[in-house]
């Protein structure tokens, strides 16, 4: 029986290739209606995990339920409303974009063909749908891949590096589309990407995988909140700032950053920032800039994977998403 509200549930999922464990005893719960980022370095097991979710590879041990169905035992039911881009979108280059979608519509049934026009428009290929795919740029193929993934009106979209080849404008469109699909259409998106700043902007939940193991899983907010937070100050008197800031309660450290600013490690609330600014000015310290500073997903990712790889202490995990087993 599946967890209520979970669209993906991996239990003790393991995949071995000879002696190597590509996915090692992974437990993962992805709630419905969220964008879930799946991060990890190259060779961490992300794509293998995604392939098992989609029935493209069989688990060596454990199980994976998609939409409540075991993918290995009931692939048709599990994948009926699942769309995907795996590794890279592949097509018949000698057929047009539209003809390619018609091929998949025949396999999908359920009036998928009737959605083709709308989907081509949605991904910005309305006018190029009649062109042969061999004439498409990589970005256009990614867009067509997204259109194909949406053909069966999916509850779950599994997207492996979907932003490869997209230009800045297309990236922004993609970001908006993802949020629209999650917030307005209620779809669940399980996405992997190396573009961490993009994931930070679109994901609600995140799991970081390293050497086949999920090392941290939780909401994006809590993951970021667990990181270093404080106030960055650009001023003309370092000693003065140290003197003033050290008298504030809650200040844990003051140090100089790589870009010449002074970082005051303190919860960066609005009140604290106003009080710090006032105190600095009253003490005669000239302030050019004072801003909230939080670790980005990329910095958190580096800290976490670095810690696991032996570069530091392992971080405490953030709270798990709702529906996840304790």
């Amino acid at each position: 029986m599946s967890e209520a509200g979970a669209v993906i549930e991996a239990r003790d999922l393991t995949k071995t290739f000879g002696a190597r464990r590509a996915v090692n005893n992974v437990n993962l719960t992805v709630p419905r209606g969220v964008c879930f980022g799946f991060l990890g370095p190259n060779g961490a097991g992300k794509t293998t995990m995604m392939r098992m979710l989609l029935g493209l590879a069989s688990p060596s041990a454990g199980s994976v339920l998609v939409r409540g169905y075991d993918v290995t035992k009931s692939p048709r039911a599990a994948l009926e409303r699942v769309g995907a881009i795996v590794e890279e979108p592949r097509f018949y280059p000698y057929l047009s974009g539209r003809a390619n979608l018609e091929v998949w519509a025949a396999y999908l049934g359920n009036a998928a063909e009737a959605r083709i026009d709308g989907l081509l428009e949605r991904v910005g290929l309305g006018e190029r749908g009649g062109d042969h795919v061999r004439k498409y740029s990589q970005g256009m193929r990614q867009r067509l891949g997204l259109a194909r993934a949406l053909m069966n009106d999916p509850e779950l979209l599994v997207l492996d590096e979907p932003t490869n080849g997209l230009d800045v404008e297309a990236m922004q469109e993609f970001r908006l589309m993802v949020r629209e699909m999650v917030e307005r259409e209620g779809r669940t998106i399980f996405i992997s990407s190396h573009q961490l700043h993009e994931l930070e902007r679109i994901c609600d939940y995140v799991a970081i995988v390293n050497q086949g193991t999920v090392i941290i899983e939780g909401s994006m907010k809590s993951l970021i909140a667990e990181g270093e937070r404080g106030v960055a100050v650009d001023c003309d008197d370092e000693d003065g700032l140290r003197r003033v800031a050290s008298s504030f309660t809650g200040v844990r450290a003051i140090r100089k950053t790589g870009d010449g600013l002074l970082f005051v490690e303190v919860p960066p609330t609005r009140e604290t920032m106003i009080a710090l600014n006032r105190a600095l000015v009253e003490a005669g310290v000239g302030v050019a800039q004072l801003s909230r500073s939080e670790e980005s997903l990329e910095e958190r990712y580096m800290a976490i994977t670095g810690a696991v790889n032996g570069d530091g202490a392992a971080p405490a995990p953030p709270p798990p998403p709702p529906g996840a087993p304790s």
Partner: protein, 244 residues
Amino acid sequence: MIAIIRQEVRKVTGRRGSFWSAVGITLALVLTAYVVSIIVYQVQDDATSGEEALFLYSTLLFVPLVVFVLVASQAGAWDFANGTFRYMVVTGRSKPQLLALTALGVIVTSLAVTAPYCIAGLVQAYTFPLAGSDPASAKDVAQFLWFAFAQVTFWSIVAFSVGALMRSSGAGIAVAMVLYFGGFTFGGLLGAWSDTLRQILPNFAITTTTGITDDPLGLGIVASAAWLVLFAGAALLRTARSEY
């Protein structure tokens, strides 16, 4: 199901180079057969029978079959080599079913391309001077149609299966071609040692099922079925067991 077959046919016909080669060669052959017939008629005093006309067409089928072998082995390998098979698997259908549907599309296409050739043969057997006053019998026609159907279907399945097993268009085509051409040569050599072994080779077995040779029909049917099971079974097994 019909919608899927239609799209599978489109996948084959969309590879215009190989597909139009198959069509072009087949139509060129029809034309050639007509020209040869006219020449033969001109130099002979008496008209050739309808049965002989059909036999001439059956013999010439050897040429388009080469192209069908090429088209089918390429089609068998394409989805694996191109990475599109994994997207077919994500539709949730079983892998053997997906492979079988693709093969069906190839067979339908090959038979459709053969149709004008068969029609031309029949028209000539009944109406052209070659047929003369001795038109083909119903048995001759059935044998001719079965010959075309059996050869095209058999070699489409074998070549498609080889392509699906090899997973590379080039390698698939090469192996299928060796099987097709090499079978005749090897069969000739083998026949000198053991005629039974020659009879069970794919080329000879499938030809035997059409009844145009003196080889035992039962052995031809059994051997043909065994080859189909072997090649198609191996392709299905590999497809089902592989990960994508």
